[in-house]
Point group: C2
Chain length 259, copies 2
């Protein structure tokens, strides 16, 4: 008997988000789905793990071919709970994290809980995809994201894949026909600069809201994900986890040459 | 009049940790210190940022050449609060994050709040160092970490530095004389596997504690940080933030060649 494919799904906006429903609907076209998402929104949680607190797991839905749980932790906790506990010993064919409400292009990959989970998924010997729509609207239209997400999932499941494989996929806002196609790109150089807004609580204590703006360090570079998105392409950046700056090995080595 | 150097200090164990006192003592040898650390321990917080909550800033100490604050956020929030609010427009000579209680070698760089802050610091046009002692003991002896930390800070401040520069420094346990020197290394390949321990709360609800083990994917590779630490060297890994997997650009490109 042919084994159904098994897809593990998570996100960072929490199990109740619209994008989570969208990604589950897409994933079910490819096999059985086990989904564990954070109990509460976890945007900006990066690759954070829970060390000081216990984790509560709650069953949201359980039927043939679909199980949905929520976990009182981070997106990475959800992946670990999935692979190291719930699915321990079972072969998983694919991890999908998303569909995120908001862009994870450029340096956002470092802050994103969606991508934190996708990266974590790639540590478990199966391909991993982080999928984001570049709109923070909680009622965003995920039609095009689902369409392109499906094409990318099919390409990964049916293609010649070299492991480890982790893809950071971002979809521009707009209808399917408005999007010009899929571009494989590199991560745009850039950073965020923040502004802090001071307010006062009813106890006369100051507090701050942080809000930022992305500074694109190379707006004209056509091989970057920011360029692709601003020109209405879906961006696909393959992601790896070695953060060593090999270009600095020599110069840093000379700083400690006497040791 | 000669301007004093300005060192920005943060950590992930919180302002009350022993390692934070140790790093401030070390940093003061080089100039004026402004330190903002999390109000509460933030280990494992990676490069997380606070999006949904306001941030409270509290003055812990303020005297000539030394200011210490706590912030109700993540380590990265502390860096952003420092550079984009408190020190806005001032030249900062160095960021130091630590001294962390526990190793941030190998793939720990991805989960570490200490390194999240150090990486964030490198976005602000000054060199940045994450400094960790590979002991989780809250009363750990930081003598050797301070000694080697001081040597590395001096090398960075006095040396020919190519920017951006971010160093992930880990110090083995032991006295100064037991440590064999400083080695510039690359990040060890590997990953964590977790175990989940189930308990029951007084309301009969199950919960889980997550605890893991690092799996070294290349224990014999002498150019890695894990090898250096296990052979009693201080490890220094230069860090960069482009997570693009350039080795996969071709194969992933072919998956979407028709687009």
């Amino acid at each position: 008997m042919k084994r159904n494919r098994l897809i593990f799904v998570t996100n960072d906006d929490g199990f109740a988000s619209k994008g989570f429903g969208a990604v589950i609907e897409t994933a079910r076209k490819f096999g059985d789905v086990v989904a564990i998402a954070p109990e509460r929104p976890q945007s900006g949680m990066s690759q954070a793990i829970t060390i000081y607190n216990p984790l509560y797991l709650r069953t949201i839905r359980k039927e043939a071919g679909l199980e949905i749980y929520s976990l009182s932790g981070t997106p990475v906790d959800c992946v670990k709970m999935g692979f190291d506990h719930m699915l321990r010993g079972r072969k998983v064919d694919l991890v999908i994290s998303g569909i995120n409400h908001g862009s994870n292009s450029a340096v956002n990959v470092l802050y994103s809980g969606t991508m934190g989970a996708a990266i974590e998924g790639s540590f478990y010997e199966c391909p991993s995809i982080g999928l984001s729509l570049i709109s923070h609207d909680e009622n965003a239209d995920f039609t095009a994201s689902m369409h392109f997400g499906e094409r990318i999932i099919r390409a990964v499941l049916d293609g010649e894949v070299r492991m480890p494989l982790c893809l950071n996929v971002n979809v521009p806002v707009g209808g399917i026909d408005e999007i010009r196609g899929i571009r494989v790109c590199r991560q745009t150089r850039g950073f965020w600069r923040e502004e802090f807004f001071r307010r006062q609580d009813p106890h006369n204590r100051d507090y701050f809201w942080m809000t930022g703006e992305f500074v694109n360090g190379e707006p004209d570079a056509e091989d970057t994900d920011e360029w692709a998105l601003s020109h209405n392409f879906v961006s696909v950046v393959p992601i790896q986890v070695d953060m060593t700056d090999y270009s600095q090995m020599g110069s840093v080595g000379r700083m400690f040459a006497e040791d």
